[in-house]
Subunit: 466 residues, 2 copies
């Protein structure tokens, strides 16, 4: 096909292109015909939020016939001259000299007419919703953040590692898992899971990963600094605005690294990613501020401006106790922080992102490094306003004897994690890492209240369509 | 922990750092004590292939005691002065003034002693094999290629889209799938798959994706140019050196794009990726040339130097028929090209990458665009020497009536793909895309004969360890 220019590029180069001809392609958002014989078409190609206004002179018979067929949702190509626009809200417009209609969209059935649709409704038409302003903007921010994650780590010499999706190990304590099988139900009849598995594809039960951390440790203990970035899974039956059965997580893992440096890297990453949205996604961010969350830009700017707070779990509990809030969950040393506690700390006490460190040993998985007090582990949770936990990480237990003691305490069999134990037998080193959920970060940077809007095809209990 | 320098950076900045002190950390490849009272330690930190030679004066009592405990596989920190090395094969060495041992590695049991190990053996210790030269080099090339894929598409304004891993649609005709379930075997008893699924997590049968293409089309038809890059799955019971049950694939999808442009982009991508290996992975490439495949650099250079050939399926068949080769599989119009045919075309006939286009309609899935002859579809396979098919793609059928006819012909129910059909009802446009398998590309750029060596944790029938 002949070359066309993306609408985003047309706006970016508008000074240079004024008075010149251009070819664009996209989907029609609206068409309005004036009594003066002009048709105004708002064309969007998804490259940016903004529509390009197309001006069609209905006195030109070769265009009129085609224009009559153009309705919301139609796809078309337009050739024309780039002119300064007298209209409000746009700098340029395209005066059509040629129009080609690719595909129509019957106004009687096309679901995306020009009106506000509920997010619930849009989820049912996930094949069309990226053509809306909100979901289109989310897609562009998601793209920019995903690439910025790679840029951040690559610029710092981290190696990207693809940890497995299907695994017979599971990252202990991370919740319910999905089983992966090629067995037909009838071949499972009368069998325990273990027996049935002997005839299964992998010869034993296999699951979808809940975290790439344990395998990332393998590569950190060979290459130094690594990161994984891929899908992870939880089979929890929770229908909340914060949970998905399938979501993306970035998990860096650093050899020769302690909790302090782990926290520094997590802060630098979050600040950099927020900065990228502020600088590279201005137009989409403006949209979210205007239609989703008016305080969004202020919140994001504050994240970039100053270092995060750090508070120990023990001190955080004292702050919660001293507050006059009536929490639903108990505030006792040894209880986990709940969303209400997390949000109180970051929104009311510190009014900025805060890292809670050194949690009770009893609350955390076997692989976290035991502190000298033997009561706490070198864990960290980073909390941000409006969301709560966005990062969870820890220094890992690198001492063989302490790891084995931890496994015994937590009921984890060293036989099942023989390879993990061997990483402490052969050339063990202090190391640390964390996980950052991409969708939580997207909720934070777009202000969208429901996580189902920030992933293209949300998987939740009862929903695996498309 | 105190700052240390990566060994790769030390070599890169060696002129600047000569005579200065440096701190490095890594794993010991070998230690050898000379009669003259010097211990030579080869230290590797995974940042590059090359080891740093550490010189320890055994007359310094504060070092001697520690050095005695150092063996192959140990992890350590060394502080010392960067000196020019008189030795062969290295420009600099580090004269130790301080040594800290992190973790030992019992020489009686540590499996990676200084000798050649078979790849089969190394697969059994996939938690230690990234500490070998070959698998470490693969990991670095895999990282560089993965990032280069993102750079290529981001530089061209493509948006990265995360298509779902769990799906109730399957990309028709791509082979056997894995089922994803939370049902216990006992709850499946006496049920057909469909009935059992009513009580399953998603309320219907769900599978691991075999391709993100169909969902990528959704986003291309809203945002223009997009790509997916993620894991895909095949439950085929094939134990070959070219197949994995879990592998990574990049799949660009372009709106307003025909087969010709699709092919241009695929060629540009492959050439760019090969160029990146030639320029940015020199040291690792040298290693592969020396120990794996002597002709590797020549092959790669040829790929970059000249445009790919293009040949129609029909003409390719004529070339095969004219050859005097005795193929195992038939060469008849309507038969699929087998590996032996593919390799003959790219290695013997064209001696360079070749795109075979316009395959018989009967051989290809329902979504490929039917050509005007009604006998062929606008498909392309790109073949490279030594590997065979590395890219498969097509222009997609954008005409509603032809798509429905194709579905009928192929026995695909429009009800199961209602959303896919609707993309042709509302604002349909010409579009095209392709898939490039990351592991095939890695086999091509490293020369490694078995695909199990180019992915960190290979999943094949009977194998899902780690």
């Amino acid at each position: 096909m002949k070359k066309a220019i993306r609408i985003a590029d047309l706006f970016r180069r508008e000074q240079e292109l004024l008075g010149r001809t251009a070819r664009v392609r996209g989907w029609v958002r609206t068409r309005r015909d004036s009594k003066a014989g002009i048709s105004f078409i708002e064309l969007n190609d998804g490259s940016c939020l903004k529509n390009l206004q197309i001006i069609v002179d209905l006195n030109l018979p070769q265009l009129t016939e085609t224009v009559q067929k153009v309705s919301t949702g139609s796809s078309m190509q337009v050739e024309g001259v780039v002119n300064a626009s007298p209209g409000k809200g746009q700098s340029i417009e395209l005066h059509a000299s040629g129009i080609e209609l690719y595909g129509g969209a019957d106004p009687a059935t096309y679901p995306l007419q020009k009106k506000r649709h509920s997010f619930e409704f849009l989820r049912q038409i996930a094949h069309l919703r990226p053509r809306t302003n909100t979901i289109g903007a989310v897609a562009r921010v998601r793209n920019r953040l995903s690439y910025a994650i790679h840029q951040f780590f690559q610029d710092r010499g981290f190696y990207y590692v693809h940890t497995p999706i299907i695994t017979s190990s599971d990252c202990e304590g991370a919740g319910e898992v999905f089983r992966v099988t090629t067995l037909k139900p009838e071949n499972m009849v009368g069998n325990e899971a273990g027996e049935a598995a002997a005839g299964d594809f992998f010869g034993k039960p296999a699951y979808l990963t809940v975290s790439g951390q344990l395998q990332a440790e393998i590569y950190a203990l060979a290459l130094g600094n690594v990161y994984t970035f891929g899908p992870t899974f939880r089979a929890e039956n929770s229908n909340t605005s914060r949970h998905l059965a399938e979501f993306w997580m970035v998990e860096p893992e650093m050899a020769f690294c302690d909790l302090e440096e782990d926290l520094e890297i997590a802060q630098a990453l979050i600040q950099r990613l927020v900065e990228v949205v502020l600088t590279d996604c201005r137009e989409d961010l403006d949209f979210f501020v205007r239609f989703i969350e008016p305080t969004l830009r202020d919140t994001l700017e504050k994240v970039v401006e100053s270092p995060f707070e750090t508070v120990s779990y023990t001190d955080a509990l004292e702050l919660l106790k001293k507050s006059r809030e009536s929490f639903s969950f108990p505030v006792d040393w040894g209880s986990d922080l709940q969303a209400e506690h997390e949000r109180y700390l970051t929104e009311k006490v510190f009014k900025k992102p805060v890292a809670v460190v050194h949690f009770p040993r009893s609350l955390k998985p076997f692989y976290m490094r035991v502190n000298d007090d033997e009561k706490t582990v070198a864990a960290m949770d980073i909390l941000v306003p409006g969301i709560g936990e966005i990062v969870g990480g820890s220094q890992r237990e690198e001492r063989l004897d302490v790891l084995l003691e931890q496994m015994k305490l937590k009921g984890v069999s060293p036989d099942d994690y023989r390879w993990y134990v061997e990483l402490r037998e052969y050339g063990s080193v202090p190391h640390a890492g964390f996980g950052l959920g991409l969708e939580r970060l997207l909720q934070f940077t777009t202000g969208l209240p429901n996580i189902r809007e920030v992933i293209p095809f949300p998987r939740t209990p009862g929903h695996a369509d498309f």
